[in-house]
């Protein structure tokens, strides 16, 4: 490992420490919010956790997909995904797990878990016929079992993807590639089911009346977009004074750029399809979810969430889409980095758009509720939690990089990957 690389990895304790401090602060705010029966700071912790969960699930899927397809370009980049995904179970354990297992937080965030919770209609959640019909799935015990299952599943899968790959560095056995190929072939369909359930439980169930069968696919599309954007940012940094210096070439950037373009289109396709079906069918039990994100229930005018949705269409889809159409955007490092940053920021906003707006009981409002706004103190705690979890992920990433070769030197396709050509 070169001097600049070891200088980079030696920072892991500092970065991890900063992350822990930020996360402790976010959790402290969540506990303060608990006293005032304010769900917003707890939601920030959940969002910080889910943002990185999503990104790391994306990296896990990319790791498995490149394994299954024996992608020749992948090994030098995949090793960094393997370093990253080690943080996935940690992120879940520091965020979703305590939020779901501590009853006060669970009742605050997932209102349906609290039978005594009062709805805007004046009834209790426990008497809601819509919830009663879904009770076989949405009940507290099964919910907690599923949350535990996600941690175990992703823990085992990330452990497997890392362990055999790192083993290959020392024992130089090609059969580990076959083992990982088999793990990935099973892991992709299972992972698809588990990430769909995770999206249903952690995000869609925040508004338990609403349902969308596209939701899991949307979560997957967002995950891959975030993973690719983060990969571009990470590899840019690592090729300027890190272990990818002189290794990452134009063809690698081109591949990442093409994938970013493909998944930008895929995300737009899924997000639009979900909106389009609900718009066309025009059924109140589905449309209310989008109405909450378009109108202020008090004034009846467009709310700030409408502005957010326009930003998602034009800033998170159209801008990166048009920019990535051009060949030079995919190969010039600075341009690709800029687009990746745009996607990374847009991904945060998309997650907020999906999770934050909810009905807040307010007897003085004409409809009996208001909607949580976009621009508020909550946005700051969201960013604090995202930064906290992010620093923990990066700290653990750098720590992993001290434990194994930063380039998978004995991967059977390593030469193909290093000499990868467009």
């Amino acid at each position: 490992m070169s001097d600049s690389s070891s200088k980079l990895t030696s920072k892991w304790t500092t970065i991890l420490g900063l992350g822990v401090i930020a996360l402790v602060a976010a959790w402290a705010l969540a506990f303060l919010g608990l006293g005032q029966h304010d769900h917003r700071p707890a939601l920030s912790v959940l969002l910080g956790c889910l943002f990185w969960t999503s990104l790391l699930i994306g990296m896990l899927m990319l790791t498995m997909i490149t394994r299954v397809f024996d992608a020749g370009w992948a090994p030098v980049i995949r090793r960094n995904w393997e370093f990253m995904i080690g943080a996935l179970p940690v992120v879940l354990l520091l965020g979703v797990v305590p939020l779901a297992f501590l009853p006060d937080f669970r009742h605050l965030l997932w209102e349906w878990t609290d039978v005594k919770h009062i709805l805007p209609s004046g009834h209790e959640v426990g008497h809601d016929p819509i919830l009663q019909a879904k009770e076989w799935f949405l009940n507290e015990k099964f919910f907690l079992v599923r949350i535990s299952l996600y941690v175990v599943f992703f823990g085992v899968l990330t452990w497997a993807m890392r362990t055999w790959s790192f083993k290959q560095d020392t024992d130089r056995t090609a059969s580990h590639t076959h083992t990982l190929h088999a793990f990935s072939a099973a892991g992709i369909p299972l992972g698809a089911v588990v990430l769909t359930m995770l999206a249903f439980d952690c995000l869609m169930a925040l508004s338990y009346h609403w349902f969308s069968t596209m939701y899991g696919v949307w979560f997957f599309a967002l995950s891959i977009r975030l993973a690719l954007a983060a990969t571009v940012i990470l590899t840019y940094r690592l090729s300027n004074g890190g272990w990818l210096d002189g290794i990452l070439n134009q063809a690698h950037r081109h591949v990442l750029g093409c994938l970013m373009l493909a998944f930008t289109v895929f995300w737009a396709y899924i997000s639009f399809s979900q909106y389009f079906l609900i718009y066309t069918a025009n059924i109140p039990e589905e449309t209310f979810w989008y109405n909450l994100r378009e109108f202020d229930p008090v004034t009846g005018l467009k709310s700030d969430w409408w502005g957010v949705s326009m930003y998602l269409i034009f800033g998170f889809f159209l801008l990166p889409f048009l920019a990535l159409l051009f060949y030079r955007s995919k190969i010039v490092p600075g341009r690709l980095l800029t687009i990746a940053v745009i996607i990374f920021i847009g991904g945060i906003v998309d997650l907020l758009f999906n999770a934050v707006p909810r009905q807040i009981l307010d007897k003085t409002a004409p409809e009996g509720f208001t909607v949580s706004p976009f621009l508020c103190g909550g946005l700051a705690t969201d960013l604090l939690a995202i930064a906290g979890f992010g620093a923990i992920v990066i700290g653990l990433f750098l720590r992993s990089a001290t434990k194994a070769e930063t380039i998978p030197v004995h991967d059977p396709r390593i030469l193909e990957s290093i000499n990868y050509h467009e």
Partner: protein, 180 residues
Amino acid sequence: MNERNERIFGVACTFRKPADVFHAAEKVRDAGWTRWDVHTPFPIHGMDQAMGLPRSKVPRLTLLGGVTGFITGCLLTWYMNSYDYPLIVGGKPYWSAIYPFPIMYECTILFAAFGTFFGQFILNRLPHHHHPLFELPNFARVSDDTFMVVLEAHDPKFHVDDSRNFLQSLGGQEITVIRD
């Protein structure tokens, strides 16, 4: 261009190894040739750069097709549903950007595909039923074990004897003048 060159398509020259034809291509490129080609039994990585080929212009035609398709889709749905025969379907507006979006998007893809397909047809000057190189007895071997560089007569640098000598200097094996 003199009388003699008009009946000549160009000069072909064979090579035995990929590395030889690769370096020959670099020298032809550096000598400033524009109308010439390399024929190989399999793709050789880096040959584009060795030949100094620019990127294909097909993507521009794809984009042009896509934009045309999107506008066509917009106009089509607006004209039919909002102008020519206004009709309310499912309580939706006569025209908005949402309900006809699948049509706009399908038109975008269809026209982009047309742009790509016909674009490459035009840029490759297809259909092309015959080519003077097919008259060359050993041309079939470039799909087997031979590599070939062909300098074409309509290049401003072309002159039969000079070109032949140039190819010889590059280490070519069999040099043949191709009649048109």
